[in-house]
């Protein structure tokens, strides 16, 4: 599937841009896997919390 190919490539590119790859996660969950969905979301939330806010250091700020 296209997404399965897109995400790993996106992660490689984001890593080059200094974005932690842990901020992106790809998983496959069906509508009947409610518990699994909750687990994944909680895991991801915790992971992001540990990484901290995303600070772009960019935009139109001049160095």
């Amino acid at each position: 599937m296209k997404t399965a190919r897109r995400i790993p490539l996106l992660k490689k590119m984001l890593a080059q841009l200094g974005i932690e790859v842990e901020r992106v996660r790809l998983d496959w969950v069906s509508a009947s896997e409610g518990d699994r969905f909750a687990t994944i979301v909680n895991e991801m939330t915790e992971q992001i919390r540990q990484l901290g806010p995303f600070n772009r250091n960019g935009g139109s700020e001049n160095g």
């Binding site: 190919r5 897109r6 490539l9 590119m13 841009l17 700020e61 160095g63």
Partner: protein, 324 residues
């Protein structure tokens, strides 16, 4: 009636856009008949003080090339914006950041460290670096400050029109001049190029094939009639605006995106990730891993000309005490 006044300026640029204007060949004489060139440092001797003395909005058309990466460049961009009725971001650097915006993978401190400290040919034991102000025996000397982040022109001042390309092809330059001279300029914000993608305009044979491996340009000799992407060579055509005349494709080399994203695409790099993922055939984890490995330098390839214009705008560096 006085002729309209034309100004051309270069910021963090290479001079290629100015040479492109000269490449209009004998038509440069027509341009000179049409307008008075009041500022063009590569060819004409007017200085900054001449521009400062001009009245606001007295310059009718300003073609501004180059990205903004220093206080001087920002100052002149603002100065010319004040003095000009119409400001055109001319060339890939002014439009998207261009090649100089690859410096958004790094910052000023890292560049200085390399250039003035690490170089093996340096004869610089006392670690001299360029300073914004230096006292010499006779007085004071100043240098502008370099930014950590390279900006597009529009990120600094409002811009009416965009002419993409590295450099813009002669026919688009003449098209702009023509539109201006005949009073038929498009609505503000227009990009003077095609509204299609380069892929749409490319005449190579497309067979809707998928590829099972990617090739870097020196690894194979491509068939000059067939689509490069379908031969496994990364080409940015699917997510690049057309209008360039396919100059690189005709030299049997892939597109690297100097015309920026096509209409409707906000982030050229993200779109290209999608395009490459589409063309690759392979669903197993191994095949996908292989594709990712074969796709060298995705950020530097997909944002080759547009890093400053991308959603992220620059690489996020670790928090350091240096200026960010």
């Amino acid at each position: 009636m006085a002729k309209p006044k034309l100004a051309l300026y270069w910021a963090a640029a290479c001079g290629g856009c100015d040479v492109a204007v000269l490449d209009t060949n004998e038509k440069i004489l027509d341009i000179a008949n049409l307008a008075d060139i009041v500022f063009w440092p590569i060819a004409v001797d007017f200085k900054y003080h001449h521009v400062k003395a001009m009245e606001d909005k007295s310059i009718d058309l300003c073609l501004f090339n180059g990205a903004i990466r220093s206080t001087e460049q920002e100052e002149i961009a603002r100065l010319l914006r004040d003095k000009s009725k119409v400001m055109v971001a001319f060339g890939a650097c002014a439009c998207f950041g261009g090649i100089p915006a690859l410096a958004n993978f790094t910052n000023r401190e890292e560049i200085f460290q390399r250039v003035y400290h690490e170089a093996p040919s340096n004869n610089n034991e006392d670690g001299t670096i360029p300073l914004l102000q230096t006292s010499v025996a006779e007085g004071e000397l100043e240098l502008p400050e370099l930014f950590d982040t390279v900006l597009t022109l529009q990120q600094v001042v409002p811009v009416e029109y965009f002419v993409p390309g590295c450099p813009p092809p002669v026919d688009l330059i003449l098209k702009l001049v023509d539109l201006y001279a005949s009073g038929k300029l498009p609505p503000v914000g227009a990009v003077v190029a095609s509204d299609k993608t380069l892929c749409d305009e490319c005449e190579r044979i497309k067979e809707e094939k998928k590829v099972t491996r990617l090739y870097r340009p020196h690894e194979i000799i491509p068939d000059p009639e067939k689509c490069l992407l379908e031969q496994g060579i990364i080409c940015c055509g699917p997510a690049t605006r057309g209008g360039c005349g396919l100059r690189c494709i005709e030299a049997n080399m892939p597109c690297r995106g100097c015309f920026g994203p096509p209409p409707g695409v906000i982030d050229q790099g993200a779109k290209l990730v999608s395009a490459i993922a589409s063309i690759y055939q392979g669903d197993s984890e191994e095949e996908i891993k292989k594709m990712v490995e074969e796709m060298v330098d995705p950020a530097g390839t997909f944002y080759r000309f547009g890093l400053a214009d991308s959603m992220l705008k620059r690489k996020r560096l670790q928090q350091t005490e240096g200026r960010m």
